[in-house]
Structures are given as C-alpha cells and as structure tokens.
C-alpha cells in the first residue's frame, strides 16, 4: 500500500493521537492542581429523578462494560487469545454480543439523558455549553463505534479490528507508531478513533474528570474521617473558586 506514511496519515494517526494523549495527561494534572473545587460530577439529580433513575445507570454501567471490552480487545493481541485456543469466530461472537449489549445500553442511556436535558426545564437551564460539547463528542464517538460494529456484522463482513486498530493502538502506546496499520480498518472505525481522540483531548476540561475520582477507597477506609484543623483554611490565601470574600 503506497502512501502509508504520507503527511496526512502521519498527522491523523500519529500526531493527533499523541497530541490527544498529551492534552489528556497534562490537562488532568493542570485541572487537579488548579481546580480541585471544580472537580465534580455536578449531578442534576436534585432537579429530576424519574428519567435519571433509568438513564444514568444504563449509561454508566453500559459505558463501563464498553470500556473493559475495549481494554481486552485493543490491548490483548490476537495471538494470545489464539494461543488460549479461542478462535477468531468464537472471540468475535462473544465480543459482538456482549459489546453490542453494553453499547446499546450506553446509547439508550445517553438518549434518555439528552432527552431529559432538553425537556426538563431546570436541568436544561443547568446545562452549560461545556456540557453540550461533551454530549456531542460522547454521542458521536459512541454511535460511530456501535454503528460500524453493527453494520459490519449485519452486512455479513465483520471487520477484525484486532488485525488493524488494535496493533496500531499498541504501536502508538509503545512509542513505535505505525500509521499504516490502521489504514486497513473501515472508515467508520477510523472516524471512531478520531472522535475518541477529540473526546480524550476534551476530557480534562469537562465534567468527565469525575471518572478519575471513582471512590474505590470507600471500600476500605474507616467510616468516620477525623482531620486536624487545616491551617490552609486561612483567608490569607487567595479566595478559591466559588468562595468569594464578602469584602
């Protein structure tokens, strides 16, 4: 295949992913360092519960399953599962069924949540532009991934991304980027990857940061936390975000 390393390919499949990763990492550091106060789920449950009760768990559990599916599918080389005696057909059947289920749950969840944002007045007025951009990126990435998978399988030509997207991603993560590897993937997957890059670059600046505060420590810590008086609570420091001084 000629032109594998053309400027556009290197830009799209080497520069863009690295840039996204860099923004993702540095962005999170920056946000944590300077905006701990803004680091929150910013839940809208106090406004509305009926729709959220369905939409939010559907989306979150769905997306968690999707995430773990991606970890396995992208990071475990096909040769390893083959060595375990799992054929491509078997693998695909399982991944497709479980993945589609999870993907559909996540999409249904997003659909309910977006509907809720649009129709419940109080939730709508609490929706920032930042949130809207986040919803667009999230929905586009989800739909591209799920749509391409469904289309491929239902049209009878499932694409084995573990020959294309997965080795490419590993090459990027191992700092030996090989743009050519992904070119064999269908357009849908390539767009899915680009959308994901945009999402990752946007991540640290959105409410999505709350993913990194998943409170697993709660399982082991003592119930009641005692802390000594915090000298940092002094007003000699600049007032922090959200706490304006009265005079």
């Amino acid at each position: 295949m000629s032109g594998n390393d053309s400027a556009v390919n290197v830009l799209l499949w080497v520069a863009v992913p690295y840039a996204a990763i860099a923004v993702f990492v540095v962005g999170h550091y920056w946000r944590y360092r300077f905006d701990k106060f803004g680091w929150t789920t910013r839940s809208s449950q106090v406004y509305e519960r009926r729709l959220l009760r369905w939409g939010s768990p559907l989306f979150h559990f769905g997306i968690l399953a999707v995430f773990f599916g991606h970890v396995v599918g992208l990071l475990v080389p096909e040769s390893w599962t083959a060595a375990l005696g799992v054929s491509e057909g078997m693998y695909h059947a399982v991944a497709f069924s479980v993945g589609t289920l999870a993907g559909l749950a996540a999409v249904a969840g997003v659909a309910i949540l977006v509907y809720r944002r649009r129709t419940v007045g109080s939730v709508f007025s609490a929706t920032t532009r930042n949130d809207k951009a986040m919803y667009v990126l999230l929905a586009v990435t989800l739909l591209l991934g799920l749509g391409t998978t469904l289309y491929g399988t239902l049209s009878g030509h499932p694409h084995d991304y573990r020959q294309t997207v997965s080795p490419w991603l590993r090459s990027v993560l191992l700092l030996r980027p090989h743009a050519g590897l992904i070119l064999g993937a269908p357009l849908g997957f390539r767009l899915h990857v680009l959308a994901a890059c945009a999402l990752f670059a946007y991540w640290p600046f959105s409410r999505l940061v709350h993913v990194f505060s998943a409170p697993v420590g709660y399982l082991t810590r003592p119930y009641i936390v005692y802390r000594s008086r915090d000298p940092r609570l002094s007003s000699s420091r600049a007032a922090r975000r959200g706490w304006e001084k009265a005079s």
Binding site: K36, F37, G38, W39, T40, T41, R42, S43, S44, Q45, V46, Y47, E48, R49, L52, R53, S56, P57, F59, H60, F61, G121, S122, F124, S125, A126, R207, H210, S213, P215, V216, G217, Y218, L219, R221, Y223, I224, V225, Y226, R227, S228, R229, D230, P231, L233, S234, S235, S236, R240, G242, W243
Partner: protein, 579 residues
C-alpha cells in the same frame, strides 16, 4: 479512655419566639449564593408540622442515619459500602428540590420599568432555578405557626401513634418552634456515607465539615444524614453544610445564629467525651436507652483523672477549664434538662434541646388555674399526654419518662422561683423533690433566665500552636506582641469584626479593667457608657462592679494570651478597644 473535645450547643425551646432571625443571619453569612438558595443551614420549623425538607424524619422512606443489623452491630440504614457504590449513578434516596422547595425571586424591575398604566404593576415570582414564572406553593417555613395545618398538619411524621389525640382545631392546638442546625454528631452518618471521604470531623473541636476540594458530588451524605442537614449545591455540584461558624468559634466568638438569637436561648460550650465509647453507646440495643447511653459518654471535666487524660490527649489547659465552665455540659449532665434531638438515629447528635414547658403552662393558664403552681403544672403534664408523648418522639425515642422528668424539673423551678420573687421563704422541698439542692435550682434558674453573654457562650479560642493562621486573624502582624515593634503600628491589629465583638463582649460584662496594656481607642464601638477605654490613664482603684471577677476569668483569650504571648496570634494586648 481517649478524651476528645466537642463544641456543642443547647437550645432552650421555651424561649424561642419563632422569629427566624437566626435563619436569616445564617443565610446572609453562608448561603446567600446561587446554588444554595434553597438551603437553610439554620431553619426554624413549627411543630406539629412537616419540617424542612418535608417529612425528613421519615427514616423508613429516607433511610438516613444508623440502624442495628441482625447481629446487633451498627450499620448505615441506607446500606453499606458496596450498596452505596452500586447505587452511585442514581442515588435512590436523594431528596429532590421539590422536597425542600423551589427557590424564587421577584422581577422587581417591572415595578420601575412598567409603562404608565391604570393598575399598579406587580413584581411576579420567578423561579431561581429556571428563571420562569412560577406559582409559590411551598417554602422552608410554609407551615409556620401551624399555617395550613388543618389541611396537611397530619403529615407530620412525629404524629405517628398520637394522631387521634392531636387536634388541629383552633381551640385545642399546641405548638412549639424547633430551630435546627447540623448536629455535629459524634458518630456522623453523613461522613460515613461519603464515598470520597470529603466529610470529616475536626479532631480539635468535633466540628463536622465538608472539604470542598475533595467532594465529588456523589450526594450520599445528603441521604445519609437523618436530619437532612447536608445540602447539595446544584450550581457547584458540591455538598455544603452548617460549619458551626468555625472561623468565629476559632477566635472565641459564638456562631452567627447564637449571636443574633433574639430569645437568647442558645448556649455554646465544650463537652469532653470518651471517643473510645462512642460506637458502643451508639449501638445500644434499646433505642430508648440511647439518651442515657450518650450522656454516659460525656466525661466530667471536674474529675482530675479526666483533666489529666485530656492533657495527655493534647487538649490545652484552658480548653479543659472552659469545659468545666461549659453551660452545655451543665445543662446536659448537671441539671439534666437538655435532651438530644432524635437519639434513635444513633448519630450521637451534639445540639441538645430543653423541651418546652410553655404548651403546658398555656393550657393551665387558659383554664384559669395558677400556672406557677407546681401541683397544677404536674397534673397538667400528666393529663396532657399529647405534648409529653409528642415531645418524647423528638427527644427520647418515644420514652415519655425523660421528657416528663425535665418538664417537672422546669415546673418545679417555676414555683421555687416564684416563692423567692415574692419575697417568701424558698421552699426547699420543691427543690428536693426535683432531686436538687435549692442552690442548684437557683443556679439553673440563673443559667436559663439571666445568664449573660459570657456565661451562655464559653468558647476557648483555637491555639496558635495548633494552627498557624486562622480565618479571622489572618491579617495579624507577626511583630505584634506586647511591646513589640508591631504594637500600634498601622494595620497591625485584629480585624474589625473581632475587635468589635470583643468590645461588645467587654461591655456586656461592664467591668472597669485595670492593668491591661494601652489599648487602641475605638470610639465607634463606644456606647457612651463609662469612659472610652484607652483615652485616659487607668484608674487604679479596685472595681466594685459585679461580675468583674467572673469577667476576667471568663475571658476566653486570657489564659491562652498569657501562654503564647510571644506568638501574639490572639494578640489581646493590641486588639483594639477590648482591654
């Protein structure tokens, strides 16, 4: 024995006139921001009534606080850790805004911008949430003074079991006001419910706070607190709660709600307790025993062994002294007239209440009998089963005995003091029947009826060696100590709030102090009584005015001022017109 100190409050419900000043000043101080328009860290509810948020006491619905599991161990009523994490994406027990009320404002602009017209323009209510026109249907005190109770009064959770006896007919009602703040519990279920560990109990003074930098908005604390005293700021996405005005407490000032309380019914002081025994007490099998169990966790600050253990635990000497003078300890454990609010939630609450005798007194008086007579009052307490049983639901998990005992003590005090006020011989048998000496009864009366500022609020300042800069003192100059170069220099003094408060405090005690350092003259804080301090050289004759000796010993800063004089953080000497 692991001694810890807790800043606590007692409210004397008989004196509450339901004026909501405490709520308003608290709101002005802490929650006058977007996102917490609906939040009242201090609220006053009329009972019988639904409370705020509506029916918050229905723990079968809200599942706040603790319960005992099958093995008799303490467990969060809302479910343990795994259950919390699994329901984190949609908290099943979170009160909605509509359970509090939808906050609103008015479009006042139309009053001035409306074109000339026949009818007076009106300012319509606008939702503070959506900005749209709205119909006001509920608020934080919608059922104030039993308003609307004929319609929905029976929705009061605490009426369960006594509903047939409570009448909402105009002639037969009784009511009282219940001001509520966060209880700063010894075993706070809000903190236990927080997945991020952002809610903590300060080890120095037991104040329960939310770390705004660590809160991630999981909202489990809101449902975990049975008193519903954590609020979710829907703008910032963080939990907020009553702070016990810690910046004020740290410099020896009472909370805003207490400072501004019109009825002067709030008492603030330290309680020493044995931290090792808290969980054991909270797990007491019969919930009717929880009141006594919690009382037994408190330590007697006069006991030398306790004082010693306290010092070993790093509690400063002046704090132990303050604990000995604590009005809160006296009302809870010496006179035993203060009771905890809803001990059955097992959070070991630390804002206690003296139940109201006035509903009983009113009935006696209205029926034409002598409402100062102990016999009449005792008979009424027994006959009026409603108030006692109803109150018992609040203050002793339904056990009428403690409430009856407290009401009888208060009734005894009334008749004992009447004899004295009429110039008759005090009837010691009245005191004895209440299990007190006449002197104790008189002291209790003094504390309940006459106590001055310094006796109602015994708050030792925070220590310089414990924290280097405190909110209200952060402008303090490090060179400002007795005779140091910073003395009297520009800007080197306590902030105005602290200075004015000290001046007021001094004035209440009205002592002509003697050997203080030359102080700044603050003519603004001078009310025309006596000589403005610092204007003239000190007179040396001893003060004849009553209260002076008490004054200087009660001054919270004095012991510490001597102890850490060099650091000058408390900086009494330079701190304005105080001394």
């Amino acid at each position: 024995m692991r001694v810890m100190a807790q800043m606590a409050m007692v409210m004397n419900l008989d004196k509450c006139i339901g004026c909501h000043t405490c709520s308003v000043t608290c709101k002005q101080a802490w929650t006058n921001r977007t996102g917490v328009e609906y939040a009242w860290f201090n609220n006053v509810e009329t009972r019988p009534g639904q409370g705020y948020p509506r029916r918050y006491e229905d723990q079968e619905a809200w599942r706040g606080g603790w319960t005992l599991n099958k093995r008799g161990r303490l467990a969060l009523k809302g479910g343990g850790r795994v259950r919390k994490l699994l329901s984190i994406f949609s908290n099943p027990k979170l009160p909605l805004l509509e359970d509090y009320y939808e906050p609103w404002t008015y479009d006042y602009e139309t009053l001035t911008s409306a074109p000339a017209q026949e009818h007076t323009p009106v300012a319509r209510p606008k939702s503070a949430i959506t900005g749209r026109d709205m119909k006001i249907t509920w608020s934080a005190n919608w059922d104030d003074n039993l308003g609307g109770s004929a319609d929905h009064g029976e929705r009061d959770v605490m009426l369960k079991g006594v509903e047939e006896k409570v009448k909402f007919e105009f002639e037969q009602t009784f009511m009282f006001y219940l001001p509520r703040i966060c209880e700063h519990c010894l075993n706070p279920s809000c903190a236990a419910s927080c997945p991020s560990g952002a809610i903590y109990k300060r080890s120095e003074d037991g104040i329960v706070l939310v770390d705004q930098d660590r809160c991630r908005g999981w909202r489990m604390c809101v449902s975990g607190c049975p008193y519903k005293k954590v609020y979710f700021n829907h703008r910032t996405g963080k939990a907020e709660k009553c702070t016990f005005c810690f910046p004020r407490i740290e410099v020896g000032m009472p909370t805003v709600c207490a400072e501004t309380c019109v009825g002067r019914l709030r008492y603030i002081g330290l309680v020493l307790y044995d931290a090792d025994r808290v969980l054991e007490a909270a797990a007491t099998a019969d919930e009717k025993d929880l009141y006594e169990a919690q009382r037994s966790v408190f330590l007697d600050p006069h006991d030398p062994a306790v004082a010693e253990a306290a010092q070993a635990a790093g509690i400063p000497r002046d704090w132990v002294l303050a604990a000995q003078r604590s009005p809160v300890y006296a009302l809870i454990n010496k006179y035993k007239v203060a009771l905890p609010l809803h001990p059955e939630y097992r959070t070991m609450p630390m804002v206690w209440y003296i139940p109201p005798l006035s509903p009983v007194v009113d009935v006696v008086r209205e029926s034409g009998f002598d409402a100062e007579d102990r016999g009449n009052l005792f008979a009424a307490i027994d006959a009026l089963r409603i108030p006692v049983e109803y109150l018992a639901g609040f203050f002793s998990a339904g056990d009428p005995e403690p409430v009856r005992r407290v009401l009888q003590t208060l009734a005894s005090m009334r008749s004992y003091m009447r004899e004295i006020n009429l110039g008759r011989e005090a009837d010691e048998s009245i005191a004895a029947a209440a299990g007190m000496s006449g002197e104790q009864m008189y002291d209790m009366y003094r504390l309940l009826a006459l106590a001055k500022y310094n006796e109602r609020y015994v708050i030792p300042s925070a220590h310089a060696e414990q924290a280097h800069s405190l909110e209200e003192l952060a402008t303090q100059c490090s060179l400002e100590y007795e005779g140091g170069p910073g003395m009297g220099g520009s800007g080197a003094q306590a902030p105005p709030a602290v200075r004015d408060q000290r001046a007021l405090r001094e004035r209440q005690g009205a002592s002509a102090d003697s050997d203080a350092a030359p102080a700044r003259v603050n003519l603004f804080a001078w009310d025309g009584r006596g000589r403005p301090q610092g204007m003239f050289p000190h007179r040396r004759e001893p003060s004849a005015q009553e209260g002076s000796a008490h004054e200087s010993s009660a001054h919270p800063g004095s012991a510490q001022g001597a102890g850490v004089g060099g650091a000058g953080v408390e900086g009494d000497g330079g701190a304005g017109g105080a001394r």
